[in-house]
Subunit: 373 residues, 2 copies
């Protein structure tokens, strides 16, 4: 696997790059549709190919629970299990485990938790989570980390940071000794933590860079802090992270967040927003968000978005989509999901184009006025 | 519009025919996927084209309620509203209204009922239901009839029959004077009623034949009576119905029912079974029904059905589909729905082939042993 930087914008930190994996190339900056349970909700693999999705996300916690790592491994990895030929990144599941709150207990060896499904007890350790991801066979694996809540104290985050760094070291060493099970390369990305404390982010980023991971994520953001703090922390981290490695801003975000993130030197994003909002009837357009169930679209023969090239917009009216959503028809949320993913992917493609044309900063300013949420 | 009989089996009443409409041809015998609310649940129009569905069903009651006939009419009819270019048949909605039981009151002019959605009062008359279907713009419209319950007395069904015949006459006359609104032909089919009473079925069928409708449905079956009675009544009705008109057995049925229906001279079928069962995780195969959630498929790398040519079977394992159903992922029911519709449509195509080859009776006997439910 390989990452090459193709171009950096002259007026910002925005970068265009290329990740090469054994399952194909990823042109960055990229948005990764979320496929938590080995499916991007409502969309088939061919739907995703049509959208030209270049990489999708899976979730280690959810896949460990169901269908289990052994089953996926027996298929030769998640690609064959779900019939998706392109790259997959798996989140470590740490975030999901910490979200369980009352159901989990953390110590220096790992985290013990109760399943959200049946209350059964499980333990994730740095070792086990890497092992699980080798079985799942994701092209990009994420380290198990601790993700403190956005209102955690400096003291708490400082201690948490130390644990995350300790675990990162364990996983880096194991990763270097180990090897993938399914005949293709897998990368391990580290996750920079430290809340919104510059001092702690600095320690985290520098230590992880010293450990020399193939790629770096900025984690622990978009968890309740202000937008300003999120953007500032991202900016702060990418100043420390090496130019020649891909950078991934986890769980982010709105179209504006993607624009701001790219401007601050981020290459990869994932977020449930386009798929989750689609199921609630909210669609994204170059003119901003639209509530498609709104009464004013009752008779609208227009597509969701003029000039949009997706199957939804080329073939269906707002009135029809509104009807499907109002009658709880599944095809309605397929249509909105397909459109929203198209919009997110198109937004990233356009960003890449603008970066390569050295026009990102000017273009971004114009676009922000319209898509602003 | 035109119906031509291509061949009748030498040893049974099974027929192969061709219906020509302004939205394309329908090769009979045919199964019509149910798209109650202007969408065949989970499937896009292009999914249905891929399955080579030749005609789909809509429901006048549901479409009248939501989104309303005016909206569909403003699009130029249901085809443009839902972006489906092939033929559509609409049930009159009578069956749905009678299912409301406590919420409806019937008299000789029509039926007054309360919406299942908001309790608002509405009236369907023979005139209004035809009007609604002109607005909807289905290629084949169905008369408003009364569908007595399967345990109704002879006296009740006799009286009901008279009403259904009276309404049929009103609608036939209106139909002959009226014309479609959207620039293409629409047919009106009559519905033979009479419960399981031969005498009443005979009256109903003969009277309706005298009224000279473009096509005839056998209604009021598959409502709780025994299979024997259903098959016998179907047989009895098709003996009376004219050879040169298409015949439609409403709301039927299982694979066996389709085979028995075709053998008794039926050309058209509709049923929610393939789509509804798919959502419950039951799939149809040439070896019978399969509960795909069953534990024995936990690790199965096989498709639902060997040699099945559908997208589901060509690309996905039982274990993956089972995982999706167990995790309530929508793509799981898309996959099972797609497969089940493929099976139903393929079953009909195979029947047509066997009829044309004069091998239907022998073939049916063999097939019944396997698909028997």
């Amino acid at each position: 696997m390989k990452f090459s930087l193709k171009h950096t914008d002259h007026k910002s930190k925005a970068r265009a790059g290329l990740v090469e994996t054994d399952h194909g190339q990823i042109e960055t900056p990229i948005f990764m549709p979320v496929g938590t349970q080995a499916t991007v909700k409502t969309q088939s693999p061919r739907d995703l190919y049509e959208l030209n999705a270049q990489i999708i996300l899976g979730n280690t916690y959810h896949l460990y629970m169901r269908p289990g790592q052994e089953l996926i491994s027996s298929f030769g990895g998640i690609h064959k299990f779900m019939n998706w030929e392109r790259p997959v990144l798996t989140d470590s599941g740490g975030f999901q485990v910490y979200s369980l709150k009352e159901l989990r207990k953390i110590d220096e060896n790992g985290v013990r938790f109760q399943s959200h499904l049946d209350g059964s007890y499980h333990t994730f350790t740095p070792q086990s989570v890497l092992e699980t991801q080798w079985h799942i066979g994701s092209d990009i694996m994420m380290v198990l980390d601790e993700c403190p809540s956005h209102d955690a104290t400096f003291e708490y985050v400082e201690k948490s940071n130390e644990l995350t760094l300790k675990w990162a070291r364990i996983q880096r060493d194991l990763y270097e000794k180990g090897s993938s099970l399914h005949g293709y390369d897998q990368w391990l990305f580290a996750i920079v933590q430290g809340g919104t404390f510059e001092r702690l982010r600095e320690i985290s980023a520098k230590e992880l860079v010293n450990m020399d991971f193939p790629g770096y994520a900025v984690g622990g953001l978009a968890v309740g802090e202000s937008k300003d703090k999120m953007y500032h922390t991202t900016d702060f981290c990418t100043d420390i992270l090496p130019q020649e490695k891909p950078r991934y801003l986890m769980g982010v975000g709105t179209p504006q967040d993607l624009l701001e993130g790219v401007e601050r030197g981020i290459d990869m994003f994932d977020c449930v927003m386009p798929t989750r909002n689609a199921r609630n009837g909210t669609v994204f357009t170059w003119q901003g968000k639209v509530i498609i169930k709104a009464g004013r679209f009752k008779e609208s023969k227009e597509p969701i978005s003029e000039n949009c090239g997706c199957y939804t917009c080329k073939n269906f009216s707002r009135a029809y989509i509104r009807h499907l959503l109002n009658t709880n028809e599944i095809f309605g949320i397929w249509l909105t999901t397909h459109h929203n993913l198209h919009f997110y992917l198109e937004l990233m493609r356009e960003m890449r184009k603008q970066i390569l044309a050295d026009n990102f900063t000017r273009w971004k300013k114009e676009i922000l006025k319209k898509v602003n949420d």
